[in-house]
Symmetry: C2
Subunit: 339 residues, 2 copies
DNA sequence: CTGTTAGCGCATTCAA
DNA sequence: TTGAATGCGCTAACAG
């Protein structure tokens, strides 16, 4: 290996000073285009790779964004948020340093500490399911934006899915297909999604003048097995619903199974819509499951973009707290009601 | 904010020199336990946070590991590899800087360049599906280990699943349950998994003295729909197999659907085993799908651990190329053959 | 056992 | 328009 080439080697080779090189490369200073170009080509031919540790140390900008999440692993959604954030960060010449806590506060604290030691410029504090969070103490004073997470009393920017709107979209679709007795398989946890989607369910009914019937709601854990049981309960009723709106695709898969067990054909005897658009399921089910997509990629992107803006803008832009639209993805699980 | 506290502030407050502080904190040097402890507590009380940019610049060790993958997003496996790598890295006081290329060589090159600019100590070059890869040119000379990827002609360490062993385990399970006519729904792509699992399938047959019957093999894309079609073909035969071994869980889901369509009960009329143990499917299917787990977390861990060892050991340890064992996860999709 | 000192590679005044 | 000099915060000789 040849000796590592630094800014001074480039300067020597180009016959200029290090200052000129620095300016040429970073776009700063007042240089003639000629020198700038020449320096750049010299740098390239020398295979120069700027040392961001040094420039970060000097300029107090590491160009690193910390991404802390609760669990990147189990959820299949995670990846898209990360990806969105990464793409946006890359556009700003930043790179992501990721840390996840596995829902363990102590690990999270350690991870955050590591990020801070590496002098990340800012942090994206993400959750894999939309939830209310507290800003960790260590992060006070650090530029931070919440991703798929929010905090009422905080003045930080955040982005979450529009839960209520998502449910409304799903229900509108069902109601426009002609359904009026629509069961809702809701999640059992007390999280924003549970509350927001229920609100959307009710809002849709109200909007279309359909009375709300508490008995059409069944609660279930967000998994297929429990979803199946809950759906079976609803389908066993003499006046069974003609359509089911499901909290998520895993529960919807349970609803499919319950329908099979009850010898109900989808969508002929029963229509189903859910939320997640988790393709491994929604696309695989027979028939394909019509589902509302959660905009994970877009949220990730927005968070990184927003953070970059806050890092750039010296002292403007009040925090924004966004609820992002969730689009309907049509497949084959909805048809007109039987009767 | 109080002025940022650095090593010199700590030194002043503790009444020692910066060297002593540095040594106390890093564990180096020959200090009395007393001073070491005192310095540490002073540092803590001052809320000192070491600046890794500076220490990295000076020591030429950023303590950052680059993690480059092809697509973190779509696959649900990804997370666990990242997680394993992260856990192992954290144990070595390292942190992960992640970059993914979305299967785009140009993006990958840019990402790698960014990592190199940040002076990562080493790189984990990962694929989300086991595949043969070439080491990117930019990485020559950089400590690298392959994760779920390998390169025959390279002298780098790598870890991949033991594809053949996985298939063997699955087949043994079926054969021990009494099956002899076992169909194989293989993937259609020419990748190590396709070849390895087929080899395992044949090895298992040979081991138990069962003749290989080419016609019991059906090819399918690794998705549920195509898997369903392929399974239907096999199940339509007059001498249909009593069991199906599936390339992965998505194909297995298709096999379940084909069984339903053919009015075959699982496992009464048809046993199924597959590979992936992708819980969102395997656990959700009715009955639960017996599947071989791919050791993603463990591979991720191994890769980071191995890289750390290479970074520590100056010039020992020849490269290791590991095939990792894949354990069987029992659920309810296997029973004795009907006849 | 502890302190002094000299850079790591770069960005940035300030002068020329 | 360019160059010389200074130090970001820390580690690692080397001295004491």
């Amino acid at each position: 290996m040849s000796k590592r080439v630094g800014i001074r080697e480039v300067a020597a080779a180009a016959g200029v000073s290090v200052t000129t090189v620095s300016h040429s490369l970073s776009g700063g200073g007042q240089l003639s285009d000629a020198t700038r170009k020449r320096v750049r080509s010299v740098a390239e031919s020398l295979n120069y790779t700027p040392n961001r540790l040094a420039s970060g140390l000097r300029s107090k900008r590491s160009q690193i964004i910390g991404f802390v999440s609760d669990e990147i692993s189990t959820t299949p959604y995670a990846g898209n948020m990360l990806l969105g954030a990464q793409d946006a960060a890359a556009a700003h010449d930043q790179v992501l340093m990721v840390v996840n806590s596995n829902r363990n506060a102590q690990l999270e604290a350690r991870g955050i500490d590591a990020l801070l030691q590496h002098r990340v410029d800012g942090i994206i504090y993400a959750r894999m399911y939309h939830q209310a969070v507290e800003l960790p103490a260590a992060l006070s004073g650090v530029p931070t934006v919440f991703l798929d997470a929010s905090n009422e009393s905080s003045d930080l920017s955040s982005v979450v899915p529009d839960e209520e709107g998502a449910a409304l979209t799903a229900m509108d679709h069902l109601i426009e297909a002609g359904h009026r007795r629509i069961g809702y398989l809701n999640n059992i946890d007390d999280i924003p999604a549970t509350r927001g989607r229920l609100a959307g369910y009710r809002a849709a009914l109200a909007k279309h003048g359909i009375p709300f019937d508490e008995s059409l709601i069944a609660l279930s854990e967000s998994m297929t097995g429990p979803g199946r049981d809950a759906a079976s309960r609803l389908l066993a009723r003499p006046d069974r619903p003609t359509a089911l709106f499901c909290f998520n695709d895993r529960i919807a898969m349970g609803a499919y199974q319950a329908a099979h067990l009850a010898r109900l054909a989808i969508p002929h005897d029963l229509s189903i819509v859910s939320i997640d658009n988790f393709e491994v399921l929604a696309d695989a089910l027979l028939p394909g499951l019509t589902s509302i997509a959660l905009p994970h990629y877009e949220m990730g992107r927005w968070a990184a973009e927003r953070l970059a803006a806050e890092l750039a803008g010296e002292a403007d832009s009040p925090p924004e707290q966004i609820r992002m639209h969730c689009p309907l993805v049509l497949r084959q699980s909805v048809g007109p009601p039987l009767r």
